[in-house]
């Protein structure tokens, strides 16, 4: 079973530019999550999709961030326009099922390191 994949692995952009991150979850996983880790701090929740619907977007920092999940498969996270404080590692995770322990245990991708200069 292929794991969660993310693209690109690393992106360097200038302040004000746009960047789109992509995540492909494990096949068959209904739940997809985005998290961010800034400067060696804690990993912070951004949002949660169940299939194609946003279940919880309480962690999205502001309206410069837009997440989509087309057809309930892969997801994109767009940052527009990027600011310096958006730098960090963006992780995507997925989990199986809609309830119970199988939905709690999230499988993470390798992350995209975003550097805004």
């Amino acid at each position: 079973e292929a794991g969660v994949t993310q693209f690109p692995s690393h992106s360097v952009i200038e302040k004000g530019q746009t960047v789109t991150l992509r995540c492909d979850p494990i096949s068959g996983h209904d739940n997809l999550y985005w998290y961010r880790r800034v400067m060696g701090k804690e990993i912070k929740f951004l949002l949660h999709f169940v299939k194609e619907s946003k279940q919880d977007e309480s962690g999205m920092p502001n309206n410069r961030f837009l997440a989509e999940r087309t057809g309930g498969t892969y997801s994109t996270l767009k940052v527009q326009p990027a600011e310096l404080e958006d730098s960090g590692v963006y992780f995507c995770a997925s989990s199986r099922g809609l309830a119970g322990p199988s939905s709690y245990e999230q499988y993470f991708g390798p992350g995209t390191r975003l550097t805004v200069t």
Partner: protein, 114 residues
């Protein structure tokens, strides 16, 4: 406001000895806890979990203990091996009304020395 705290940023242990990683939480609504291990340039990997109805869960060399009254959990690794050297994250969630989002601590860097 950090709801999950890992107060030790690093820990060094000799191979074969026990590693004990600690985690404290402040939100009494948390009722499910997970430990993740992370190697450099990789994503966190699920290690072990525990529900609040238990006080211990064991999986091979890894045991997690939960003390609800103290809002404290710990991960014991015994015996420690060099391959265990990684950053360990404690995470928590609440099952009822909390959705699936995980709240993480800042991590503890474990180094297992030969």
């Amino acid at each position: 406001d950090q709801q999950v705290k890992q107060n030790s940023p690093s820990l060094s242990v000799q191979e074969g000895r026990i590693s004990i990683l600690n985690c404290d939480y402040t939100n009494s609504m948390f009722d499910y806890f997970l430990w993740y291990k992370k190697y450099p340039a990789e994503g966190p990997t699920f290690l072990i979990s525990i529900s609040s109805i238990k006080d211990k869960n064991e999986d091979g060399r890894f045991t997690v203990f939960l003390n609800k009254s103290a809002k404290h959990l710990s991960l014991h690794i015994v015996p420690s091996q060099p391959g265990d050297s990684a950053v360990y994250f404690c995470a928590a969630k609440y099952i009822t009304g909390g959705g699936n989002k995980l709240t993480f601590g800042t991590g503890t860097q474990l180094k297992v020395e030969l």
